[in-house]
C-alpha cells in the first residue's frame, strides 16, 4: 500500500514536471520570443528579431506485477515507474527593425557562414555530377571495327 502511494506520488511529480516543461515549451509560441527587447541608442531604436524552433518529447509510465518468491514460496509484488524526455530549442537572428525619426526600416541579418556552406554544398553537387559523368564516359568499352 505504501509502495503504491510512493509510486503514485512519483508519477504525479513526474506529471507536474511534464506540465511545467510543456508550459515553458508553449511559451516559445509567444511574439515576445521572436521580437527581442528594444535597444535605444540616441534617437534610434533597434528591435532584434529571431526565428525560434522548439521541439519536445516526453514520456511517463508506471507498472506493477506479481510473482512467486523462489526462496519463501510466497507471492511477491513489485511496483515501478519512470519517465524521460528530451527537447531542443534553436534560435537564429533574422533581421533588425530600425526605428529612427526618419522612419522605420527592416534590415536583414545575413549569416555568411551558412550561405557559404550552402554554396559549397551546391558546388559539390555540380562537381560530383561532372566527375560521375566523365568517369562513366571513360568506363565505356571501346568498339573496335
Amino acid at each position: 500500500m505504501t509502495d503504491e502511494m510512493e509510486t503514485t506520488s512519483e508519477v504525479d511529480s513526474g506529471l507536474e514536471m511534464y506540465q511545467d516543461t510543456m508550459e515553458q515549451f508553449l511559451a516559445a509560441a509567444d511574439v515576445r520570443v521572436v521580437y527581442g527587447e528594444p535597444i535605444q541608442h540616441d534617437d534610434t531604436m533597434i528591435i532584434p528579431t529571431a526565428e525560434v524552433l522548439c521541439g519536445l518529447g516526453f514520456g511517463v509510465g508506471s507498472g506493477s506485477g506479481t510473482g512467486m518468491d523462489e526462496h519463501t514460496d510466497k507471492p511477491s509484488r513489485g511496483i515501478g515507474g519512470g519517465g524521460g524526455g528530451g527537447g531542443r530549442i534553436l534560435s537564429r537572428p533574422v533581421a533588425v527593425v530600425v526605428a529612427s525619426p526618419e522612419g522605420v526600416r527592416v534590415e536583414p541579418v545575413v549569416d555568411i557562414t551558412k550561405i557559404a556552406l550552402a554554396g559549397l554544398t551546391a558546388l559539390g553537387f555540380m562537381v560530383g555530377m561532372m566527375f560521375r559523368m566523365t568517369s562513366h564516359r571513360r568506363a565505356l568499352p571501346q568498339i573496335e571495327e
Binding site: 510543456m22 515549451f25 511574439v31 525560434v52 518529447g57 516526453f58 522605420v104 550561405i115 550552402a118 559523368m133
Partner: protein, 90 residues
C-alpha cells in the same frame, strides 16, 4: 485539439517617436495527439508601422539567409541535372 496549427500572432504595439510599431509572427505548431511531443516554429512575419499622419505600412521581415541557402541548394541541384543532361547528350 488539432495536430497542426498555423496562425499569425500580433504583439503589443510599441511607440517609437511619432511611429507606432506592431510586430506580427508566423507560428506553426505541431502536437502529436496521444504522444507527449510537439514542435513550435515561430518566426517574424512583418511589422505594421503607423505613421503620424495615420497611414499604415506593412514592412515584411525577409529571411535573406534562408532565401539564399535554398536558392543555392536549388541552383546546385538544377546545375547538377543540367550537367548530367549535357554529358548524356554529347
Amino acid at each position: 485539439m488539432p495536430a497542426i496549427t498555423r496562425e499569425v500572432r500580433t504583439g503589443e504595439t510599441q511607440k517609437v517617436g511619432d511611429y507606432e510599431i506592431t510586430p506580427t509572427t508566423n507560428l506553426l505548431s505541431i502536437k502529436l495527439p496521444g504522444y507527449h511531443a510537439g514542435l513550435i516554429w515561430n518566426r517574424p512575419k512583418a511589422v505594421i508601422v503607423k505613421t503620424p499622419d495615420g497611414q499604415e505600412k506593412i514592412l515584411r521581415v525577409r529571411d535573406v539567409t534562408r532565401l539564399m541557402i535554398w536558392s543555392m541548394l536549388a541552383g546546385g541541384i538544377i546545375g547538377a541535372i543540367m550537367i548530367g543532361m549535357m554529358y548524356r547528350n554529347k
